[in-house]
């Protein structure tokens, strides 16, 4: 015999699948954006910009699906929390997609034969790896409703924030010469985009904890130290 509200459960699972798929899209975009920065690949950068439409489309799909589910099925309790979380997460996905586009747009601007600073490049690469792993871990945490993984994301995010500050200082240091200065500033912008991506994964982590516990706790990150729990 079918479980009760079979169609509803199916619809809800499908929405979740779409959101998780959105996170996959973000990882894809991020990989390509980082590659285009490393190799100054303008063409690849252009693809990233164009493909953002897919993420935007995914956002609209999920948004519409959630509205429809709320109207038709009146979810409550755990179901309601997951629906609210999915709405929040798909927004984070859309923002992360935009950050990838921002990174990609910076590639042609930063020039072909710019002077490069190894420290900054290493830091950017490291930030990229972290950001990628954070998005991946956020996806895992959401799919498996894992609170420990979510809380671990905060720790990783601290590292990304530290790297961001490091790049900033380094760019100031090596910014005597105008070409270097210009390149340095573009790198600062790239770093900032990556840092934003990290913040978004922390947001997703907060949503996962909310779904599981019913409590909303803002997790400590570099921008707002200290935790305060709010039950919603």
């Amino acid at each position: 015999m079918q479980e009760t509200r079979h169609q509803f459960r199916e619809d809800l699972k499908e929405l979740e699948r779409q959101v998780l798929g959105g996170l996959d899209l973000v990882i894809q975009q991020l990989d390509r954006a980082l590659e285009s920065v490393s190799y100054q690949d303008v063409e690849l950068a252009g693809m990233v910009v164009a493909d953002d439409d897919r993420i935007d489309g995914r956002y609209l799909e999920v948004h519409q699906g959630i509205l429809s589910l709320l109207a038709r099925q009146a979810p409550v309790a755990g179901d309601l929390r997951i629906v609210a979380a999915l709405l929040h997460v798909i927004r984070c996905i859309e923002r992360m997609g935009d950050q990838c586009v921002n990174i990609a747009k910076l590639v042609p601007l930063s020039g072909y034969e710019s002077p490069k600073d190894k420290d900054i490049l290493d830091a950017i690469e490291r930030m990229g790896q972290l950001a990628r792993s954070q998005v991946s871990q956020a996806k895992e945490a959401l799919a498996s409703r894992n609170v420990e993984l979510s809380q671990d994301l905060v720790r990783q995010d601290a590292e990304i924030n530290a790297l961001n500050r490091k790049i900033f200082r380094r760019a100031v240091e090596v910014g005597d010469e105008i070409d270097m200065r210009e390149w340095g500033m573009f790198m600062i912008l790239v770093a900032r985009c990556l840092e934003r991506i990290g913040d978004n994964t922390v947001d997703i982590a907060e949503q996962v904890v909310f779904v599981v516990t019913g409590l909303f706790r803002e997790m400590a990150d570099a921008s707002s130290p200290g935790e305060h729990a709010r039950s919603r």
Partner: protein, 289 residues
């Protein structure tokens, strides 16, 4: 979540009849009743057991129904919620072979106490049933007055009390010109409000409602729910419902019952966003019923 500084105002009500006759929604006017705001009384249930012959229907219920609040009882069929409310006004014992043990106190008086007159208990604890049941041989006026007449209450201002009760449930405008017509000539929703007026005319302290909207169409249901919202200002209300959305809309706190026991009793908001008990979660999300 509302920030503490916000000034919460009473939503403005639509005006009483004067507007387009068919659609005019008359606002229930409880000030006419003369029962003070916040005058409700709390009901406390302790160690309640109820039996139908050998069948043990309620297994040790402990519940508090706070004054001037609406408490909803939800749960699958046979969980004992109807039995529960019928024990509060001692209607349970009217069923042959049924009995109840334990204590149900209205303020500080145990309605199951020795020597307590059952009819006086029921005068203080009114009840509205699932199927509207106006007395067929009586007119609208007589139906509302029935409570007073049947209990032998001497009343020199009977007419006034009937009119006030009709106003209190928002029926006045619709029936004021046909008070002598049969009560059964009204629509389902109107009949149910008539029954509520009949209950309210006796001026009880608590109103019990056993699935009051099950037999009504959606618009009539919403009007009764709005009435409940008004009534709680002056009475304590307990409502049994199998419609969870209704409990969510109407109740301040919700009790989930299963197999004759209370599983969870919490503010409605918590029950429907973050229930503590796994069984409550499964029931409200429709995983079983």
């Amino acid at each position: 979540m509302i920030p503490p500084e916000t000034n919460i105002e009473e939503p403005t009500r639509m005006s009483t009849p004067g507007g387009p006759p068919e659609q005019a929604q008359e606002a229930p006017d409880l000030s006419a009743l003369g029962v003070k705001e916040g005058a409700g009384h709390a009901v406390s249930v302790k160690g309640l057991h109820a039996y139908y012959g050998e069948q043990h229907a309620l297994k040790g219920i402990d519940l508090e129904f706070p004054a001037n609040e609406v408490t909803a009882l939800i749960g699958p069929s046979g969980c004992g919620k109807s039995t529960m409310v019928r024990c509060i006004n001692r209607m349970h014992e009217e069923i042959p072979g049924a009995r109840a043990e334990g204590s149900v106190t209205l303020d500080d008086v145990d309605v199951y106490g020795d020597g307590v007159d059952v009819t006086s208990v029921r005068r203080m604890i009114g009840m509205v049933f699932q199927k509207p049941n106006p007395f067929p041989t009586m007119s609208i006026f007589d139906n509302v007055a029935a409570g007073l007449r049947l209990t032998g209450t001497k009343s020199d201002n009977l007419r006034e009390r009937v009119h006030k009760a009709l106003r209190a449930v928002g029926l006045w405008g619709e029936v004021k010109n046909r008070l002598s017509e049969a009560g059964t000539g009204l629509s389902g929703g109107q009949q149910q409000r008539l029954c509520i007026a009949r209950t309210v005319a006796v001026e009880p302290e608590v109103i019990l409602m056993d699935e009051p909207c099950s037999a009504l169409d959606p618009i009539a249901t919403l009007r009764v729910e709005e009435l409940i919202d008004e009534l709680k200002g002056r009475y304590t209300i307990v409502i049994v419902t199998h419609n969870m959305q209704q409990a969510a809309r109407v109740a301040d706190s919700t009790v989930f019952m299963l197999g004759g026991e209370v599983v969870e009793h919490a503010p409605t908001n918590d029950v429907f966003t973050n229930p503590k008990d796994e069984r409550t979660e499964r029931y409200v999300t429709g995983k079983f019923g």
